[in-house]
């Protein structure tokens, strides 16, 4: 597509006026210096002050410490009090009202708005100390405890949202409403793929978790070209929908068909210049390559037994979190830029005692195995693993605190997330909450700070990573976000 045609499609009043002004000056200058080379034209453009927008970065702004990311998203809001944030005070004050000074004016969800009493509830488990720093961790996550020296545990995460969907969309896209690109799409767009046969951004959902649905807006490319949306791997016969060639069609036939379709698409593209046509062409080509690459990724038959055992008994059942974890490792080995896992089942409004045990049994071993497996292969060196949800849970009981059990409600003002590898400091705890794990008292890390830090590790200055859409410049971190340098190795 030459520049002239590009203008035909994308011209608007401003561009026209600007173009005519520069154009006349350019012609005059050309006459003066007798030169038509592009560097001069470029200089004129630069001098005119128009920013070069909506160009993928290609290369990072500076040297990245992480080239790939695995994001183990724990949807529902894992309780920080039952997993990472040890608060002896909660055992002591079990059943007593949460002090008003702690409760403050914090927002509560609609589910406890009719509640007049907010009794503190002791954690539904015990804690022990692990690792060189004797970090307190729950007895429910023994495998995670075994890799504690590789983890950077952030206890001071803060989000703006209190309900699942907006909070998850906020974590993924930097905005509570769906429609903006998610982290994976930003990275796919900005840095591109490192493997020619696989997309840069792959999403997997695990079954058997919980009831909170998860919308595909969380892996949408928003206003970025649709080519950058997450490619979802499903469990079952057809892992990637519509990828298989129909029975009786040979691969060569498919190739020829694609070539013809491409010609039509190119013709159409010449006429309309719709970026979505380009997306379509690239996607078809990618799908063709994936027909070969994906079955290879999904085939676990060559994995040695001791490796499979690391991930736990569920690993061979497609669709489980453990299975997705080992697939994530295989994708990372192939240099897939961003692997996004979603596990549901952390939304323990009632009977957290059994709920959290179910959730940790499904996720603990495989999460830890993934980190260990990446580490022994030398991949943790430049792969960032993130484990966390969209918010935390309240230190007080939702509903009545009974002997049979209790639950906890959503809590956005303090929760825990851990990271490992990719240039994050190993064996550290960042941030502190008060005695009730209710408010952050030291080193707050807001979701936008988390996103800014994540981009920093990938070599991107979040303030310079901008896409202009419908007259507004957008960033993953919107208008805020600070790189938390204390967690960087």
């Amino acid at each position: 597509m030459d520049e002239f045609e590009q203008h035909q499609y994308q011209a608007n009043r401003r561009k026209f006026l600007l173009g005519s002004a520069i154009g006349l000056g350019g012609i005059a200058l050309q006459g003066l210096v007798g030169c038509t080379s592009t560097p001069i034209a470029k200089k004129i453009l630069e001098a005119s002050g128009e920013e070069v927008l909506n160009q993928p970065l290609g290369s990072p702004h500076f040297m990245p410490t992480a080239k790939r990311v695995v994001y183990l998203f724990q949807s529902g809001g894992p309780s920080q009090m039952e997993l990472f944030d040890y608060k002896p005070m909660l055992y002591k004050m079990h059943g007593q009202e949460i002090p008003a000074s702690v409760m403050g004016l914090n927002r509560v969800s609609g589910m406890v708005s009719n509640q007049y009493s907010f009794p503190l509830a002791r954690p539904a488990c015990n804690f022990s100390q692990y690792g060189t720093n004797q970090t307190h961790l729950s007895e429910l996550i023994p495998h995670t405890a075994s890799i504690v020296d590789d983890l950077c545990i952030v206890k001071s995460m803060v989000t703006d949202q209190i309900n699942h969907e907006p909070a998850m969309i906020f974590t993924q896209t930097g905005n509570q409403l769906s429609g903006r690109p998610c982290i994976g799409s930003w990275l796919s767009y900005g840095l591109g793929s490192m493997n020619q046969n696989l997309p840069a951004f792959i999403v997997m959902l695990s079954k058997g978790g919980g009831d909170q649905p998860i919308s595909n807006a969380a892996w949408s490319s928003g206003f970025l070209p649709s080519y950058h949306q997450g490619v979802q791997f499903l469990s079952g016969k057809d892992p990637v929908l519509f990828l298989q060639t129909p029975d009786g069609v040979e691969r060569m036939d498919r190739r020829r068909a694609l070539d013809y379709i491409k010609q039509f698409n190119l013709l159409q593209n010449e006429k309309w210049q719709d970026p979505e046509i380009e997306s379509q062409i690239t996607q078809s080509e990618m799908a063709y390559k994936m027909q070969m690459a994906v079955p290879d990724i999904l085939d676990l038959s060559k994995e040695p037994k001791h490796i499979l055992e690391m991930y736990g008994p569920d690993v061979t059942k497609p669709g489980t979190f453990a299975h997705n974890c080992i697939l994530a490792r295989r994708l990372i080995e192939k240099d897939v830029r961003f692997v996004q896992l979603y596990h549901l089942g952390w939304d323990h409004h009632g009977s957290i005692f059994s709920g959290i045990r179910r959730a940790t049994m499904q996720t603990d071993q495989a999460s830890a195995a993934l980190v260990k497996d990446l580490k022994q292969r030398g991949l943790l060196e430049d792969t960032l693993v993130i484990w966390g949800g969209e918010f935390g849970r309240t230190s007080f009981s939702q509903g009545k605190l009974t002997h049979e059990g209790f639950g906890r409600d959503h809590h956005p003002s303090a929760y825990t997330t851990w990271m490992a590898g990719g240039g994050v400091k190993a064996g550290m705890v960042y941030g502190e909450t008060d005695d009730f794990a209710h408010n952050v008292v030291k080193d707050k890390m807001h979701v936008h700070d988390f996103q800014a830090t994540l981009l920093h590790m990938l070599g991107i200055d979040h303030e310079k990573f901008i896409y202009k859409s419908q007259g507004r410049r957008y960033r993953l971190t919107d208008v805020s976000g600070k790189v938390i340098k204390n967690i960087l190795a």
Binding site: P60, F62, T65, I147, Q196, K372, G378, G459, L488
Partner: protein, 451 residues
């Protein structure tokens, strides 16, 4: 048209007499043999006329009141004397007949003219560039238009006032140049708190507690193209953090005495503290070399190689054969053309063998090398040891054994070795960890953490 406007041409016109009169001196003393009387007279006439015009314009400019009165006075009188001497010189050379003291009078007149010229020039320079412009202090080399924060971050937040430690450094770096006791553009002096609050021609610069109606805040928020914008276009600009700080400070009452430790540390303030500055971008720590030839690089475009600059503008490349599992020794040779530029090289899962090391050894700037899942063996080790800068080596699932590992550990720069599933034994790993404490060796033995 306001006649004062002509005054703005003073800085332009003023250079004419300087040039012409200096030329006259040169003519008189260096080229006096080739010097004709007529030429000397013309040059002196031009010098006299231009100095008179310059003086006139200077006089008009002095009404703007932007300048320090004492300095201006000195400049004015030096200028007037210069005019007198240059006119006198011309009259002397043109109309006064030769007489007994001819040479002496000529020397005196030229001498006085030169002296006043230097003085007027110096005072003029002090007026425009500040009285201390002719000092041997290291000049700030940075681009005038730069907007980045070059001020040292505030390290000690336990003492000192916001005004002293945060506001004045910015004023000093970006405002004092024009608003000092000597220059006082717009009749505004900023060097002391009192004069800053007093303001200038347009009234007080700061209305404590009301940033929206404070002249200073209004001016720094104007469009860069606006005539009233401060700092004006082309001068060092305030960046967003600095503007936010001024806004916040005025909003809080623009106090001189409020201490840093007493104010609530919001984001605006935190941006200035040393532990909150933007982290430095990680660097490769390799020498600056030329970028790889773009024509050579373009040849790899449609191949199975993945070749990317490690960062924008970096000459170093991240080269990966992740999509190129059929890679052979022969094909690997192609990267020799870009060998010095390769800093990270990933050849995992390819068909290369020990002979490939001849090629790899040419990548003299290599920092990270991944050879996992290839058939390389101890025969490669000798060549690998030529990679003096290598920091990280991955020989997972290769045929390298205990002897190979021991040799590799002797590499001075090496910091990490991944050797899981190779022929290296546990005992050798333990021995190497003991003997070479500078190297981290990972063989997949997860020392499981116990409570």
């Amino acid at each position: 048209m306001n006649i004062d406007f002509l005054g703005h041409f003073h800085p332009l016109v003023v250079h004419l007499p300087i040039g012409i009169l200096l030329f006259a001196i040169l003519l008189e003393y260096l080229f006096h043999k080739r010097n004709s009387k007529q030429l000397m007279q013309v040059v002196l006439l031009l010098g006299a006329i231009s100095s008179l015009i310059a003086a006139l314009f200077g006089w008009l400019l002095s009404f703007s009141g932007d300048y320090d009165a004492d300095l201006l006075d000195s400049h004015k009188w030096a200028g007037i004397l210069l005019c007198i001497f240059s006119v006198a010189l011309w009259i002397w050379k043109k109309y006064v007949p030769q007489m007994a003291y001819d040479r002496l009078v000529s020397h005196v007149l030229f001498g006085m003219m030169f002296l006043t010229l230097v003085l007027a020039g110096h005072y003029g320079g002090s007026l425009t560039h500040g009285a201390d412009f002719l000092s041997f202090k290291v000049q700030n080399q940075e681009d005038e238009k730069t907007t980045t924060l070059f001020l040292a971050p505030v390290t000690d937040t336990s003492s000192g006032t916001v005004y002293d430690k945060m506001i004045t450094p910015i004023l000093s770096a970006k405002c004092y140049n024009c608003h000092n006791a000597a220059k006082k553009k717009g009749n505004l002096r900023m060097q002391t708190f009192e004069t800053l609050m007093k303001g200038g021609k347009t009234g007080p610069s700061i209305d404590p507690g009301d940033p929206v109606h404070s002249e200073l805040i209004k001016r720094i928020l104007l469009d860069i193209q606006d005539d009233k914008r401060m700092p004006p276009k082309g001068k060092k600009q305030l960046n967003n953090e600095e503007i936010s700080l001024f806004y916040w400070w005025v909003q809080q009452g623009a106090s001189k005495n409020v201490k840093i430790q007493d104010v609530k540390k919001n984001d605006t303030l935190l941006a200035f503290f040393s532990n909150n500055s933007k982290p430095e971008a990680p660097k490769l720590n390799l020498p600056l070399i030329n970028k790889a030839d773009s024509i050579i690089l373009s040849k790899f475009k449609n191949s199975a190689w993945e070749i990317h600059p490690i960062a924008k503008e970096s000459p170093y490349l991240d080269v990966s054969a992740i999509s190129f599992t059929s890679l052979s020794n022969e094909e690997l040779k192609k990267i020799e053309s870009i060998a010095p530029n390769i800093a990270w090289l990933n050849l995992a899962n390819t068909q290369i063998n020990d002979e490939a090391m001849q090629t790899i050894a040419k990548c003299t700037n290599l920092l990270k090398l991944t050879l996992s899942n290839t058939v390389i063996s101890n025969a490669s080790v000798m060549e690998l040891k030529k990679l003096l800068k290598l920091q990280l080596l991955n020989i997972m699932q290769t045929k390298i054994d205990d002897n190979g590992l021991r040799e590799l550990c002797k590499m001075a720069g090496l910091k990490k070795i991944y050797c899981w599933n190779s022929l290296v034994t546990k005992q050798m790993v333990a021995e190497c960890i003991k003997n070479f404490p500078g190297i981290e060796i990972n063989n997949g033995e997860n020392t499981s953490v116990k409570p």
